[in-house]
């Protein structure tokens, strides 16, 4: 079973991401900010990370850059799930190593479709 880490400072959003992914059969871990996300990624191997951009204690861009430096996380898919849609922010995300960008609110089927595609 594939394991996905959801990183967001909003507990409700994390719950919705987890709910959507668990229904599809994925195992889901949660982290409440960038620092927590980095720690959890270090403790347990995840097959994908879905992270918010604007978070306290390490934002999404910083988290991605740090994750790419971790062993085993150089190539795993990392999705940004955020309210932001500015091209400058997307560029920054791409440069940091993000695999994709989804603007909130996400559509469940759409999220699953992207996740399935990236985990194939």
């Amino acid at each position: 079973m594939k394991k996905i880490l959801s990183v967001d400072d909003s507990a409700a959003v994390r719950q919705m991401v987890s709910f959507t992914l668990r229904k599809a059969g994925y195992e889901v871990g949660e982290a409440c900010d960038g620092r927590d996300g980095l720690a959890k990624a270090g403790q347990s191997k995840f097959d994908m990370i879905i992270t918010d951009l604007n978070m306290p204690n390490l934002d999404g861009i910083q988290l991605i850059a740090a994750l790419r430096a971790l062993p085993g996380y150089a190539f795993i898919p990392i999705l940004m799930l955020t309210t932001e849609s500015q091209s400058e922010k997307k560029d920054a995300g791409r440069k940091a190593g993000a695999t994709g960008w989804i603007v909130k609110p996400f559509n469940g089927d759409q999220l699953l479709s992207v996740v399935q595609r990236l985990l194939r």
């Binding site: 959003v13 919705m16 909130k104």
Partner: protein
């Protein structure tokens, strides 16, 4: 610090800061309560979704049993059963009524027999008389009439044989006649009861077919309804997922307004009065007012989405789809009862046949006696004819001495002729009895056997055709309790979510009040003459947008500063946008 045209100077500044502080308090309250409440919504919603999924899983096997093609085949099957039952009933009633004619014919036959045997007894008495007369003549004529003596004996034997045979038939016939009325009355009562019973079964069958048509039409639509229901649930769930995320957008929007108000409040408290400051702050406050309005509209919309989802799920809980189990159970029960009634009907008819056989068999005894008597009568006829011939020869032989003998001979001849005719009539009467009772019995058996077999076949086909319904009923029975339990939990979860949604609605009033406060501050700071330059507007845009995290906020900012079109309420402008690098 502002210097205003009024005499309240210091007081006006404090009022502005107080109002902004009050607005900030309201916004902070909104943020903390909605954070808690939306978290509760997310948690409760997961439980709700689980129960809904459980209900769908429990209902799905029942729905699968009710395939449209199966349902479409049940109604014709039930109609064939109904037609076979009605045909059977109709033929049964007709044949029973026809059997009633047997009694009428039996009455005629008995009268006929009694009349015949009366005549036969009369002939027997004549024969007896002739035997006596013949004996007297034999005694008178002496030795010359010795050969005539046997004729006297023959006549005597004939008389005894005929009278005993006729008497036997008469006794049997009288006995049957005496019980005929009672038997006929009982048969008519049985017939009447059967008619009423059959009619009530026909009515019941008719009602069952009508009910079945209605119910099966409802059942036929359930698989599609189920799919529709499942799709609606999926849609409802999606809308709640989106609503929870929209709250995150409004949360950020509100936090940014809060930050802006803090900055404005500090600026009002610290900076010296200048017209452009007032105009600038008014513009910034106006942006915050519009942002709050947007947040309020979004909040209202996602609360409405949550409520709509709850209404949709509540409808599912009380829909035909969930109630399908109970309907199928009722349908299966109704049809099984009707099949049992039909089986009972057939058994009753078989019992009736046994009664009818007894009724008809009683005739058999009479027929056997009559047949035996007829055989003897034929034998007697032959002997009489021989006697007649011999008596004529003897009479000739005796010549003029035997005028009395001659007379006896002529009477023997007459008796012989009459006896022969009576014997023929007896034979015909017996044939009539035999053929009419055989016809009635055979007709009854043949007709009702064919329709009973047809009914039995349809009953068996319906029973096996209902196997799927029985299977669905068994599943419904097994899952019914769980479905009810899940629906009850569902209702509980929905009540909790409704209460949370009501609390969330209260935040709308707080947002409104916060906006009012900001607007009042804006009213006091607004200048009727000063206008911001485009550079100043751009500066304000940069200052505000720097902290924004969504395209929605930026669009609202531009709408407030430059008069651009306001984005629609409740949308995130670039929602669902996906880009893979």
């Amino acid at each position: 610090m502002y210097s205003t045209a009024n005499e309240y100077g210091q007081t006006s500044t404090l009022n502005a800061c107080d109002r902004i502080d009050h607005a900030r308090e309201l916004l902070e309250t909104v943020l903390s309560t909605t954070r808690e409440d939306i978290g509760a919504v997310a948690t409760q919603f997961e439980g709700l979704s689980f129960e809904v999924q459980r209900i769908l899983e429990l209902t799905s096997p029942i729905v699968n049993c009710v395939r449209e093609d199966w349902v479409a085949s049940i109604v014709p099957m039930a109609r064939r059963l109904d037609a076979a039952a009605r045909c059977f009933i109709e033929e049964r009633i007709e044949s029973l009524a026809a059997l009633s004619n047997v009694f009428t014919e039996e009455a005629k036959m008995l009268e006929n027999l009694l009349s015949l045997t009366a005549e036969q007894c009369s002939i027997a008495r004549e024969g007896k008389t002739l035997a006596v007369l013949a004996s007297i003549e034999v005694a008178r004529l002496g030795a010359s009439a010795l050969r005539f003596e046997y004729m006297a004996r023959e006549l005597d034997e004939f008389s005894s044989m005929v009278s005993s045979g006729a008497e036997e038939v008469r006794i049997e016939a009288r006995q049957r006649r005496s019980t005929l009325i009672d038997r006929h009355r009982k048969f008519n009562l049985t017939l009447q009861r059967r008619r009423e019973h059959f009619r009530s079964i026909e009515l019941e069958l008719g009602k069952v077919i009508v009910t079945m048509n209605v119910t099966l039409a409802e059942l036929a639509s359930i698989p599609a309804d189920f799919q529709d229901c499942a799709a609606k649930i999926a849609g409802n769930i999606e809308s709640v997922i989106e609503a929870v995320q929209m709250q995150d957008v409004t949360r950020q929007q509100t936090e940014h307004v809060l930050d802006a108000l803090i900055r404005v409040s500090d600026e009002i408290a610290n900076r010296e009065d200048a017209d452009w400051d007032r105009v600038r702050l008014t513009a910034i406050l106006n942006v915050q007012s519009v942002q709050i309005d947007s947040a309020r509209n979004s909040t209202r919309d996602w609360i409405a989405q949550v409520n709509q989802c709850l209404e949709g799920i509540l409808r599912i809980g009380s829909s035909d789809v969930v109630a399908i189990g109970a309907k199928i159970l009722a349908q299966e029960c109704g049809l099984s009862n009707q099949l049992a009634r039909i089986e009972q009907l057939q058994q009753q008819c078989e019992a009736d046949d046994a009664e009818i056989e007894i009724c008809v068999a009683g005739l058999g005894a009479l027929m056997r006696i009559t047949r035996t008597h007829l055989e003897r009568s034929r034998l007697a006829r032959d002997r009489m004819q021989l006697l007649n011939f011999n008596s004529m020869i003897e009479a000739r032989h005796l010549g003029s001495q035997a005028s009395a003998v001659l007379e006896i001979t002529r009477n023997i001849s007459r008796i012989s002729t009459v006896w022969s005719q009576l014997t023929d009539r007896s034979g015909r009467t017996l044939e009539t009895i035999l053929s009419s009772s055989a016809r009635a019995d055979e007709a009854h058996r043949a007709r009702t056997r064919a329709s009973m077999e047809a009914l039995g076949n349809e009953r068996r086909k319906t029973r096996s055709g209902l196997a799927t319904l029985s299977q669905a009923a068994a599943i419904a029975d097994h899952n019914g309790g769980e479905i009810e339990g899940a629906v009850a939990i569902l209702h509980g979860e929905i009540s909790i979510l409704r209460r949370i949604a009501e609390r969330l609605t209260q935040s709308l009033a707080l947002l409104f009040e916060a906006r009012e406060e900001i607007d009042r501050v804006g009213d006091t700071t607004r200048s009727s003459t000063a206008v911001l330059t485009s550079d100043e507007l751009q500066q304000i845009e940069t200052e505000c947008a720097d902290r924004y995290t969504s395209e929605l906020e930026r669009c609202i900012l531009r709408a407030a500063l430059y008069g651009e079109p306001m984005p629609l309420a409740g949308t995130a402008v670039t929602a669902h946008e996906v880009e893979l690098f």
